[in-house]
């Protein structure tokens, strides 16, 4: 097995008396697509800033490409591409100029930056916008430009913090397609997300993070297999009745989770579980059988939903 590009061990970040990252350990292999899945405030972005060598850790060990960010921050950053949670494109520069000035920060010669900028505008499907103002771009376009900018130095690791948060479904799919291409080309991706579908689409392996700790680790499929049932039956009885009905459902499936708007019944066979519900004389307003997802894994592990 090749040496990992990122090794974190008991990585900790404290702000005064608040512990944002509480001793997490993980490794990322070269070419791997690694995800941190968790709700807002789980410590994902803080972890990403430490990995991005811009935030000094409070405790623990961290090695990026064999270097310690405490001593070799600039050397590490020279080999990373960073897509932050909030776009920080320079709104005073046009689209292509944003790539040009950024490429120079990596010590690339002007001619090389220009060629690279044009290739990346093409990759980000922004060639016809190269002279546009940043404020005139849509949210999805800004995101793609930020990704293009992060790729200007041909990075060994691409860090993406919440890459599609706030985008409409179509823009998300375009972005996923671009990221999937990078993955196919062998770029190491590290991304945070609170969208389970994003994690399932893009991550080979992920850690589920909550309150600064790692709750579980594995491939999306393995996590679902391990921490949830094969299928889930969702039934709704109306917001007032869900809680009371839930008691009468005891014993159906492996586990029952009562949420304010619906009841989730975890079972290997959802249809059979639904038959049992109706056999007990209970008539749900709506019912749905679906496959288990990472959302269910998170719910099982923490008792809370990802998006609250």
């Amino acid at each position: 097995m090749p040496a990992p590009v990122i090794t974190a061990s008991s990585l900790t970040k404290k702000y005064k008396d608040f512990v944002a990252v509480d001793g997490i350990s993980f490794e990322v292999a070269p070419g791997e697509s690694f995800g941190l899945l968790g709700p807002n405030g789980a410590g994902k972005s803080t972890t990403m800033r430490m990995v991005g060598a811009v935030s000094t850790r409070t405790d623990g060990e961290l090695s990026i490409l064999g270097l310690d960010p405490n001593n070799n921050g600039p050397e590490i950053r020279a080999q990373l591409g960073v897509v932050p949670q909030t776009d920080n494109l320079d709104t005073e520069l046009r689209v292509r100029d944003n790539l040009l000035v950024y490429g120079r920060y990596f010590g690339l010669p002007r001619a090389q930056v220009q060629t690279r900028a044009d290739e990346l505008l093409d990759f980000a499907q922004l060639t016809d916008k190269s002279k546009a103002k940043i404020d005139d771009l849509s949210g999805g376009m800004k995101r793609r430009l930020t990704i293009a900018r992060a790729l200007i130095n041909d990075p060994r690791i691409l860090l993406l913090d919440e890459p599609t948060t706030g985008l409409d479904p179509q823009a998300r799919h375009i972005l996923w397609d671009r990221l999937f291409r990078l993955k196919e080309q062998g770029t190491t991706l590290v991304l945070t997300t609170h969208y389970m579908d994003e994690a399932e689409q893009l991550c080979d392996r992920l850690v589920v993070v909550d309150k600064g700790r790692i709750m579980a680790e594995g491939s999306p499929a393995a996590l679902i297999r391990e921490h949830s049932s094969r299928e889930v039956l969702e039934v709704r009885f109306g917001s007032e009745r869900n809680a009371t009905v839930s008691a009468e459902l005891a014993g159906i499936g492996d586990r029952i989770e009562t949420l304010p708007d619906r009841i989730l019944i975890y079972a290997s066979n959802g249809e059979e579980a639904l038959v049992e519900v109706t056999r007990r004389g209970l008539q749900p307003i709506t019912s749905l059988v679906r496959r288990s997802s990472l959302e269910d894994v998170f719910l099982t592990l923490t008792g809370r939903t990802l998006i609250e």
Partner: protein, 266 residues
């Protein structure tokens, strides 16, 4: 990414920041040049020609020197301070708060020190353009009599540099509540009025003269006058001017590096 390119960033990082700032400036280059040329023409005409007629026969406070000659070096220094203050305040806030460009730069191999150094280089660049144009206009108005006159430019640059503590202050601002307007009205404006720019400091009562002694603008104006038509003061005092301006400038610059580094390392 090779070691060669990284070595370049390590050496020239601050110059890449300057390159970025100059590229940003292209968008408003016309306005910037018009301001740089229009300001000296207006000020020198209004004070040196207009106001001077009210001052008994355009006689300056120094024997044989016109009021225009007296006021011009101080106006040049004020112009440099104005340009520098713009970058120290809005330039810093733009990068740390409004546009987050410093955060983006810092995600690349560029360090906080290189960012601040790059901003300082840009301040010097803008001041240089402004003061050179100012000097040329001064020359055209006949306000330069000494062969060392061109050195008023240096006095102007030092004046702007000495205001760099304003950049350190701007870097501490987390929440924008109009602090710059307050800074402008309570510190910069009084300093401009009581720094011996329009009249000699000695015209003020003793208790108000200390404002001038503390003011970088007074030191720079006096220094500029030595170059433009001096000497009118002992050499040691000129040395004090230079030392005081450099000390303030270096202090503010280094403080700014530390504060920006702390702000970026969250």
């Amino acid at each position: 990414m090779t070691d060669v390119t990284f070595a370049r960033t390590r050496r020239f990082g601050a110059w890449y920041v300057l390159e970025h700032k100059i590229r940003q400036m292209r968008a408003y280059l016309g306005t910037a040049l018009a301001t740089a040329l229009g300001t000296p023409v207006l000020y020198l005409f209004a004070f040196g020609v207009g106001l001077a007629t009210l001052i008994t026969g355009n006689v300056g406070p120094v024997e044989g020197i016109s009021y225009l000659q007296f006021v011009a070096p101080a106006l040049l220094a004020s112009a440099a301070v104005l340009v520098a203050m713009e970058e120290y305040t809005f330039g810093i806030m733009l990068g740390l708060k409004w546009n987050l460009t410093f955060v983006a730069m810092n995600a690349s191999p560029i360090t906080a020190r290189q960012i601040v150094n790059g901003i300082m280089l840009f301040v010097w660049f803008r001041m240089l353009v402004t003061t050179v144009i100012y000097f040329l206009v001064m020359f055209a108005f006949g306000a330069v009599s000494s062969p060392t006159g061109a050195l008023t430019i240096v006095a102007g640059l030092l004046a702007g540099f000495a205001f760099s503590p304003a950049a350190a202050y701007a870097a501490t601002i987390e929440e924008d509540r109009g602090q710059f307007a307050i800074l402008q009205r309570t510190i910069i404006l009084p300093l401009t009025l009581f720094s011996g720019t329009m009249f000699p400091l000695t015209q003020l009562p003793q208790f108000a003269q200390w404002i001038g002694w503390a003011s970088p603008l007074w030191h720079a104006s006096e220094l500029g006058r030595q170059f433009a038509y001096g000497p009118t003061e002992p050499l040691w005092l000129s040395v004090v001017h230079v030392a005081y301006l450099l000390a303030l400038g270096i202090l503010g610059w280094q403080l700014c590096v530390r504060i920006v580094a702390r702000r970026l390392n969250k």
